[in-house]
C-alpha cells in the first residue's frame, strides 16, 4: 500500500467515522438520559434518506403515514393512561404534544410537496418529519417499561429495530434510493483529492457535536438533561421530569441520526433495512466510549470508520466481518469496564 492510498483510505474512513459519530452521540445521549440502548437510530438515518429521496422526486414519503399512525397510537395510550389515573387536566397538553404537533408537521410537509421546494428546504422537511418518530416510539414502547433493567430495555430495543424494518418495508417499499449529491466540488490538498461530500460530512459532524456540547453547557434544558443522566432522583426532586428529558434527548438524537442519513444518501444506496449496520457500528463506537463519554464515543466511532475503510481495501466483501472480528476483543474489554463503572456509580 502506498502512502497516497493510505491517505485516501484514511480520509474516507474519517468521513465514514464522522457519520457514525452523529449516530453514536445520539445513542450515548439516549442511554445516559433514559438507560435505553436505542438500536433503531440506524433505521432513523435510513428512513431520513428514503424520505429525502421521495421528496426529491416530488412524491409523498412513507414517513407521513408512519408519523401519523405512531402519533395516533401514542396519543391514545397517553390519554388512556391519564384517564385511568384520573389526571384529566393533563389531557389537553398530552393531545397537543402527542397528536396535534406531529400531525401539524405531517400536514405542513405534505402541503409543501407540490410546491417543489429547493434542496435545502427538502432536507429540512425530511429532518423535521423524521424527528417525532423516536419520541413517539419512546412513548409507545419504552415508557410502559421505563423501570425495567437495562437488559430488558435492550431486548425491547432490538425487537423495535426489527419492527421498524418491517414498517420500513410497508411504508417505503423495497426499492433502494440514492439522493442527488449535495455538492460536486472537491479540493486538492497536497495532491490528494478530497470530495466536497466528505468535507460536508466532517463539517456537519463537528457542527452538530459542537452544537450539542454548547446546548449542554449554556442552556437550562441542556443542563437538566445532564442532571437527569447524572442523578435521576436528584433531577426529579428539582421538578425535572425524566420522561420530558427523554423526549428532548430523543428529538436531539433523531436530528443527529437524520443528518447522518442525509449525508450518506448521496454516496450509498439506501434500502428500508440499511439502518442496521449503521446503527450497529455507531453502537460499537458508543461502547468504545463506555456509553458515557462523548469524546470517547467520537474517537471510537472514528476508529470504527477508519478500520472499515482499510478493511474494505483488503477485502470489500468481508469488510464488516473484518471490522466486527477485530472489535470483539475491544468490546469485551470495554463491556467489563463499563459494567464495572455502572455498579460503582450506584453508591
Amino acid at each position: 500500500m502506498t502512502s497516497d492510498i493510505a491517505a485516501i483510505l484514511g480520509i474516507d474512513g474519517i468521513a465514514t467515522g464522522a457519520i457514525y459519530i452523529l449516530v453514536a452521540i445520539g445513542t450515548v445521549l439516549i442511554f445516559t438520559v433514559t438507560r435505553v440502548i436505542f438500536i433503531p437510530f440506524g433505521d432513523i438515518a435510513a428512513f431520513t434518506a428514503l424520505t429525502l429521496a421521495a421528496l426529491d422526486m416530488g412524491q409523498v414519503p412513507g414517513t407521513i403515514g408512519l408519523v401519523a399512525v405512531l402519533a395516533c397510537i401514542a396519543a391514545t395510550m397517553e390519554v388512556f393512561g391519564l384517564v385511568r389515573r384520573q389526571e384529566f387536566r393533563k389531557i389537553p397538553i398530552a393531545l397537543l404534544y402527542y397528536l396535534v404537533l406531529p400531525l401539524l408537521i405531517v400536514l405542513a410537509v405534505w402541503a409543501l410537496i407540490p410546491l417543489a421546494p429547493p434542496l435545502p428546504v427538502r432536507i429540512a422537511m425530511a429532518l423535521i418529519l423524521i424527528m417525532p418518530i423516536s419520541p413517539l416510539l419512546d412513548r409507545i414502547v419504552f415508557r410502559p417499561v421505563a423501570d425495567g433493567s437495562v437488559l430488558l430495555l435492550l431486548i425491547i430495543s432490538v425487537a423495535l429495530h426489527f419492527a421498524l424494518v418491517g414498517l420500513g418495508l410497508l411504508f417505503f417499499g423495497p426499492e433502494g434510493v440514492r439522493t442527488e449529491p449535495l455538492t460536486s466540488m472537491s479540493i486538492d490538498i497536497g495532491g490528494i483529492m478530497i470530495s466536497g461530500q466528505n468535507i460536508l460530512i466532517l463539517v456537519a459532524a463537528i457542527a452538530f457535536s459542537g452544537g450539542l456540547l454548547l446546548f449542554f453547557d449554556f442552556t437550562l434544558i441542556g443542563k437538566a438533561l445532564r442532571a437527569t443522566a447524572i442523578n435521576r432522583t436528584g433531577a426529579r426532586l428539582m421538578g425535572i421530569r425524566p420522561t420530558r428529558a427523554g423526549t428532548v434527548a430523543y428529538l436531539l438524537g433523531s436530528l443527529m441520526a437524520g443528518v447522518s442519513g442525509v449525508l450518506i444518501a448521496p454516496v450509498n444506496t439506501i434500502f428500508y433495512d440499511s439502518g442496521f449496520l449503521l446503527g450497529l457500528k455507531a453502537f460499537v463506537g458508543a461502547i468504545i466510549g463506555g456509553l458515557a463519554s462523548y469524546p470517547g464515543t467520537a474517537l471510537g466511532a472514528l476508529f470504527v470508520g477508519v478500520l472499515e475503510s482499510f478493511a474494505s481495501f483488503y477485502n470489500s466483501a468481508f469488510k464488516d466481518v473484518i471490522v466486527f472480528s477485530l472489535l470483539i476483543p475491544i468490546l469485551l474489554w470495554r463491556s467489563f469496564t463499563v459494567i464495572h463503572s455502572e455498579e460503582e456509580s450506584e453508591e
Binding site: A224, N231, T233, G234, L237, M238, G239
Partner: protein, 236 residues
Amino acid sequence: MSILSVQNVSVSYDKVEAVRDVSLSIDEGRIVTVIGPNGAGKTTLMLAIIGLLRSKGNIYYHGESLSRFDVEDRVGRGLCLVPERRELFHDMSVFDNLLLGGYGLRDRSRLKSNMEKVFDRFPRLRERSKQLAGTLSGGERQMLALGRALMSDPKLLLLDEPSLGLAPLIVREIFKTIASLREAGVSILLVEQNARAALETADYGYVLETGEIVQSGPAADLIRDDKLIETYLGGR
C-alpha cells in the same frame, strides 16, 4: 390552617410495613421535627410525602389531596425535599447545581436574585461556584443541598437529617440556617437523629419508633420530658 396534614399514612416495602398509620400536621411558618432512632421509618415517611414512595392514607397540602400528584407536580407546588442522600449532581459545578434548583421557577429572572441570596447565606458556595459538586467536603455538600433547595422558593421544606455526618461546628451553622428560614416564612419538616438540636430549633415534635408515632408535643415540652431525655437526649 396547616400547610401539610398527613393522615393515617402507611408505607410498605414489599411486605414489610416501614411506616404505620402515621398522622402529623405542620402549621404554616412553623418548624416541626420528627425524631427517632435509626430505622424508625423517618426517611420512608419523607419519601412518601414528596411522592417518591407510594403510600396508603391521605396527605393534604394546603387542604388539597396530593394523591394524584407525582413528585414533579408536588415540587412545582412548592414542596421541596433535601434528601438524606443529598442527591447532588456530582459531575456538575456548584453553580449548575444551584441553577437546576431553580429549574421550575416560572419567573426566570428570579434565578439570579435567588442565587445571590443563597451565596449570601453560604459564602463558601460562592467561593466554590465553579468547583464540581462531587469534590466538595461533607459540610459544603450539605450547604449545597440546602442552597439548591432554596433556589426554588419552596413553601414547605422537607429536611432529612441535615446534620448527618457533619462536624459539630457545621451542625450549629446548619441549624442556625434552618431557624433563619422560619423567619423567611418557609414551613419546615425536619427529620433528625440529633434530637436535642432538632428540638431546640423546632416548634413542635413527634417521636417515631418502628414506624409509629409514640409521642408528640410542643418541642419545649419534649426537650424536658424525662423518658425522652433518657432515650434520645443522652441523659441530663
